[in-house]
């Protein structure tokens, strides 16, 4: 039962609208720094665009998707009207207001610090305040998810929480806690300087705070995708979830071990010692476990669907899968990109291998493949799946939807594979142009051109996505029925308490963060003489 459809649609539409803008900026960036573009007379424009692209794609777009999807899950999985609708709207408007507040200084060139902030670079105060508003808005959602689950538990004492809601609430807790790192950096360090109250800042400490957010945020982006893997895909292709308990274990593992691993982003940093670098590297290895479990469970769930359709043989069942079903297609593409992106990730998190690709285009390729590829393609699938239920209208043009998914997949491969390659050659990130006339850089020109073409394929796919959704708003009305989630093959009537509640795991998440971050943060904060003068952006 989806009652607050307008609320959910508002989240999705604002998310996809800003996604469209940021995607266009991204394609322009790819073009302008490739050999087919002409050099920018003012490279600063590139960094404005890059800051907007990152801020929208990192903070605004996925957060709104997770929120809208979260409200939809809460109402349909719990079969309970959303409690706190006014608060939900307040959260939404905070995000809209925060986004606008952040984008204005970016557009004026007063906040070209990139979404990763990079102090001692300091931009306009309102950029940071805008980002804070976005985070505060999303925290309202976190509270609402928790409250709605509590209300449901009171009405259903001891009953197993539906998997979709269990995972959704786990994702919201993960976000609440991971956002604390960047919040500390903003509130304690950056905003006092941007407001003119202080003139120095500890850049090393800021990088450690940011790493707290920077890695687990990826798992927050991932949550809606994994929820779709487990609770939408099997239903959409006519199968069952292989194991409900294993799914819960995977989400719990994400909650616990996605957090205390962020310092693998600082392997090359001078302000963190080798010991904690190693600890974080080892914990990062651990976070691959829930993904490996997921790959197994989802492949098994898909196989069940194939066998139910009459599939036979060791691999023969793959042929009978409903390949014309957009959900099946999106899942397959997502898994392929997750496979390549994940393999790249294992290299990044490696204590040793990181040095060969740190801060090169390899990294850009890696997170575009994981986030833009494996994760976002499932956001599309979620939107397609939910749309008829939100609009009360049909979404029938499957051929167009399949074309869109194919284009996104091809575009992402064409963009990111050459990126990985030039990264191995040592091409640095975040440069407004490259001197392809230099004989040492010239061999990279062809790869960069391919990436730029991939960027335009992605743009075409993104436009198609928006067109399909917009057309879905005007299609003939049709009753879509109630929104349902996949059920497990062996749905047990009871679930162990540990797999039905979050308290223990949240406690463990906080404890592990404190063990893995407490000492480095305390040491850096108490070391004298590490505060350095701020460098103001756009001040001249």
């Amino acid at each position: 039962m989806l009652v607050n459809r307008k609320l959910i649609l508002a989240h999705f539409w604002f998310a996809f609208a800003v996604f469209g803008v940021a995607l266009t900026l991204g394609a322009w960036q790819m073009f302008i720094r490739s050999p087919i573009g002409t050099w920018l007379s003012n490279p600063e424009l590139y960094y404005r665009s890059l800051t907007a692209h990152g801020t929208v794609m990192g903070y605004v777009f996925p957060t709104l998707v997770a929120m809208g999807f979260g409200y939809a899950i809460s109402e349909s999985a719990l079969e309970q009207r959303l409690v706190g609708v006014r608060w939900a709207w307040a959260g939404f408007w905070l995000i809209v207001g925060g986004s606008i507040m952040a984008v204005i200084p970016i557009a004026l060139g007063r906040a070209s610090v990139l979404y990763t902030f990079y102090p001692p670079l300091i931009g306009n105060l309102f950029y940071y305040l805008g980002v804070v508003l976005v985070v505060v808005g999303s925290w309202i959602w976190v509270a609402l998810m928790s409250i709605n689950l509590r209300v449901w538990r009171k009405a259903h004492p001891g009953a197993p929480v539906p998997l979709a809601m269990f995972a959704n609430v786990a994702g919201s807790y993960l976000w609440a806690w991971t956002a604390v790192g960047a919040a500390l950096e903003l509130l304690l360090q950056i905003i006092p300087v941007a407001a003119g109250l202080k003139a120095t800042i500890d850049a090393g400490l800021a990088r450690v705070f940011f790493s707290w957010t920077l890695h687990a945020i990826v798992y927050f982006w991932l949550m809606p995708t994994y929820i779709a893997y487990y609770t939408i895909v099997p239903r959409a292709i006519g199968g069952r979830v292989y194991s409900d308990n294993m799914a819960r274990i995977a989400f719990i593992l994400f909650l616990v071990v996605a957090m205390p691993i962020g310092m693998h982003h600082t392997f090359a940093d001078p302000q963190v010692g080798a010991g904690f670098k190693f600890v974080h590297s080892a914990f990062t290895a651990l976070v691959t476990l829930p993904t490996f479990l997921t790959v197994f469970t989802i492949c098994a769930s898909v196989e069940i669907a194939a066998r139910l359709r009459g599939g036979r043989g060791m691999f023969g069942w793959i042929r009978v899968l409903p390949w014309d079903n957009p959900m099946m297609l999106a899942l397959a593409f997502s898994f392929v990109m997750l496979g390549f992106g994940g393999a790249g990730g294992l290299i990044n998190m490696s204590y040793q291998l990181d040095a060969s690709i740190h801060n090169t285009q390899w990294i850009t390729g890696h997170f575009h493949l994981i986030f833009g590829g494996a994760i976002v393609i499932m956001y599309f699938a979620i939107a397609y799946d939910l749309w008829p239920h939100l609009t009360g209208r049909e979404l029938n043009d499957l051929r167009l939807i399949r074309t869109q998914l194919w284009l996104w997949f091809i575009g992402m491969i064409v963009t990111t594979f050459p990126w990985h390659w030039v990264g191995i050659l040592g091409m640095p990130r975040r440069m407004a142009y490259f001197d392809f006339g230099d004989p040492a850089i010239a061999p990279q020109a062809l790869s960069v051109t391919f990436s730029a073409i991939g960027g335009f394929i992605l743009l075409a796919s993104g436009i198609l996505f928006l067109v399909i959704l917009a057309r879905g708003m005007r299609a003939p009305q049709a009753e879509a029925g109630s929104y349902r989630f996949a059920v497990a093959v062996h749905q047990s009537a009871t679930v162990p308490v540990a797999l039905n509640t979050h308290a223990l795991w949240v406690a463990l998440m906080i404890a592990l963060t404190i063990t893995n971050y407490g000492y480095p943060i305390l040491t850096l904060a108490t070391t004298e003489g590490t505060s350095v003068p701020a460098v103001y952006v756009g001040a001249q």
């Binding site: 990763t116 194991s243 090359a268 001078p270 290895a285 204590y351 740190h358 801060n359």
Partner: protein, 187 residues
């Protein structure tokens, strides 16, 4: 399907699942052990120590004063390179080092966060103002290597490229005889 069969297939499912999980726990433990082993043997390892320095006084005193930047042949035959990054260049902009020699590079930033990456090698480190970065390196081939700044350092980032020139060991020793700090700026 009878209740007994359901029970049986649930057992099979659980067993297969446990086996898969066990295999990947072993894989993960192996990865961590390998990383620890390679690190302890110092085959490869990120910078282990934390050293601080005051970026606003770099030019006044200490090891990063201008006259001390560049390459120096130490008494034990090793080479030490000292460099700084600032918006938007490295000093020295061209670093000269000998081939087949253990080299220690010590570097820091005078303003914002920068990075040093030597293309075609595994030399890759951040320069964070307030802290000293140290990298051990050894080149086996002579030639010129590009050394871009790999971290966004504001509007001129795309123009911040340095160079490393690896020369023959004896050539370097000859140049070092005159004393002082060597670089290849202007060559």
């Amino acid at each position: 399907m009878s209740a007994e069969e359901t029970h049986h297939s649930a057992d099979v499912a659980a067993r297969v699942e446990r086996r898969w999980a066990a295999i990947f726990v072993i894989v993960i433990v192996m990865m961590a052990v390998l990383a620890a082993f390679a690190g302890i043997h110092r085959a490869t390892m990120p910078q282990p120590r934390v050293e601080t320095t005051d970026p606003s006084r770099l030019h006044l005193s200490g090891e990063f004063v201008e006259s001390n930047l560049g390459s120096v042949l130490e008494a034990n035959g090793n080479v030490t390179v000292r460099a700084i990054g600032q918006q938007y260049s490295f000093t020295p902009a061209c670093i000269v080092v000998p081939a087949d020699t253990p080299i220690t590079m010590r570097a820091t930033s005078a303003d914002v966060v920068h990075g040093i990456l030597i293309q075609g090698t595994n030399i890759n480190t951040m320069l964070v103002p307030g802290y000293v970065s140290e990298q051990l390196m050894r080149f086996t081939k002579t030639g010129d290597y590009l050394m871009p700044c790999q971290e966004f350092c504001s509007f001129g980032h795309e123009g911040m490229w340095g160079k490393v020139k690896v020369i023959d060991k004896t050539d370097f020793a000859n140049r070092a005889k005159a004393g002082g700090r060597l670089s290849c700026v202007g060559e």
